[in-house]
Symmetry: C3
Subunit: 286 residues, 3 copies
């Protein structure tokens, strides 16, 4: 309650060491996806035990797969941790193609994504695409305040790193209080956050650009077994439209994500259709 | 009514020939305007006897004029016809500067224009400009489904060809039924469609870029007989504003269409004013 | 009242001279700000004694300062005056970096700004930024009608000159009548117009681009005395956010105005913060 309190802060400044965790999964290419979470107050459950848990489970899941990209997970104290890591790893930064800071992923509010400083990085486009199907989700422009995206996006690095959370810091009453505890974090919320990140990774892994190998007029899809034999409504309508969209826009400029955005068709349908077209020698990866 | 029907399809596959109609009007330049319509089911009145009729009347009308552009009319069976024509005429495709697929032009619904795959071709700009004055008209983005724009716009050709129709295919109950007959198509609708295409052609023919030959400060228009001698409201206000807009924006970058869009003045007034300025040696065609 | 009147216009055409006023304030650089007003009917109080008065007071005020830019004031008869001045000073035009035509600044209607023909000149960006905080203010696109912006923006010159007024010409009943008199013009309106122009000049003078000299991660602001020592709400919150915004976006591409627009923080706070950062050797002017 409102009253006057005496607070004793018993601290000292002395030489010490900074500890952080780093976990790397080697993919087929040296291009990297960076996943970072702050570990400096894990006793607060949403901020940021939730981010730590999600990052850990994503890492565990990816270990079981063969991935195209390499994945690097950072478990670091906020601000000083990211600055220390950046300072020690400048030579690796050019490999980072996508990045996310994970935080506040266990409460029940809708998803928020804060764009990278670039504002038009591929990760920004991916998150905008995926969140437009998530009810009440919000996209925010970059601002130089918040979590470790401040450091990853500082102008000397300007990495393509955004921030994925639910309700942003400071915008809920439990923030930085003892009420940010196990009751505030819900398993179903953690599960949804995990599920959305799997979609992000699926999209990153499969977001290739292709070239239509038969670009002058439409190829006959029926005789290649790609198209239904009779007309009418059909559950595979999205799939067949996906074939046409991919053939029309696979000119080397448009990624599968670009085609999904333009067509409004689910990315997984687009991705499946692209593989079918590739098997029929109608499409070639750039 | 809803019931079970037995349908006998008596067809065979054997060697044959494909027939299509092509009509060419030579203009002053070899640059071409392509007008295409599908003839594969002319017994359906709106889809597509209406397109065939409009194309035929436009061709007849243009024969009586001396045009700047050449005009090519195709009367082809859908899909296979356009693919066949494209395959036999690849060397001519570079001459095509504007193109329209004509279909469904006789019913009473508002005009629809579907943009070319490029999305920003001159024909797209022209149709957007002209349809913004047509009540309830709609502009749609390109999609790889529909009529022969699918072939003309396939990525290996990517021609500046859009589609002009009234209610699009599949969006009215008479579509592909015996109810698409002479009662469904109205003379006044055909007339309006014809009239709008004349505006398109007038705009294509007159959409030049000019250079202001007196670009430093405004020239005195009154002493050149281009401007009213006394002030006040006047029916020729649009015309006089057109003179000023043309002089201000004729820097070699802006076409008369660009100036009409920017000023909101009717294209025919802009075009007339440009000719007056040219006669007074204030303007020169690029 | 409505009736028939006989009007005798007693005029003659004979050789004469055109008189205009020009006042120049030398700044540190030869880059110029042009302020122009028409003097051809000063008996009409709003159109344009108001513009003449405001320009005169701005000139008087600037004389007392050391400015970065040079300032040139023109007091000219409309149309013929600006054409005459432009014709005699073509060699100076390249120095003009910003310009405003001042007119109709004494009535009580909201501010209007008409953009330069370029539409994206720095002066356009500045006026849009400042007027978005002025209630009911309006921004209009360039049109080749109005006051001397017609000449300054004619395509052969295309100078970055916009027009600043309150209610535009012809849009109020007192326009060009004897009712445009001292009663129609209000001191408080003149004062507000003057105040807004001071903001424009303050912004022009201070709108530099900087480079963050410590761009890899955020510098520690507290130990440099730039940041509050304890957390919590604070009146200097805007100032501290300004420090972060400037450090984040001072990459040589963004001006302080760009940063003010992006952050939503008042330009004067941004400008003060930039000076503090410069004194701490964290920032260098480009």
């Amino acid at each position: 309650k409102d009253d006057n309190y005496h607070i004793k802060i018993d601290s000292e400044i002395r030489p010490g060491a900074l500890t952080y965790g780093e976990f790397f999964i080697q993919g087929k290419t040296k291009e990297e996806v960076l996943i970072s979470c702050h570990i400096c107050h894990p006793s607060l459950c949403n901020d940021n035990l939730s981010g730590i848990i999600i990052a850990t489970f994503i890492a565990g899941f990816l270990q079981t797969l063969k991935t195209r990209f390499s994945y690097r997970f950072l478990f670091i104290p906020g601000t000083i941790g990211s600055i220390a890591w950046l300072s020690r790893n400048e030579n690796k930064l050019q490999n980072i193609k996508y990045g996310l800071v994970l935080t506040l992923l266990g409460d029940t509010s809708p998803f928020h994504y804060k764009k990278s400083r670039r504002g038009n990085a591929e990760i920004d486009k991916i998150m905008e695409f995926l969140l437009r199907n998530e009810s009440n989700s919000q996209i925010r422009e970059f601002s130089p305040y918040g979590y470790d995206e401040r450091q990853f996006c500082s102008p000397g690095f300007n990495l393509p790193v955004g921030r994925f959370s639910r309700k942003p810091h400071g915008e809920f009453p439990e923030y930085h209080t003892s009420a940010d505890n196990l009751d505030f974090v819900k398993p179903v919320s953690l599960g949804e956050s995990f599920r959305l990140l799997l979609k992000v990774i699926m999209l990153i892994e499969n977001n290739l650009k292709y070239i239509n190998l038969n670009p002058k007029g439409e190829p006959q899809l029926g005789k290649r077994g790609l198209y239904r034999q009779i007309g009418g409504e059909s559950r595979q309508k999205d799939y067949e439209m996906a074939l046409l969209w991919i053939l029309s826009f696979s000119d080397g400029d448009n990624s599968l994500l670009d085609i999904a955005i333009r067509s409004g068709i689910d990315f997984s349908v687009i991705s499946d259709a692209a593989q079918k077209l590739q098997h029929s020698s109608l499409l070639s990866a750039c």
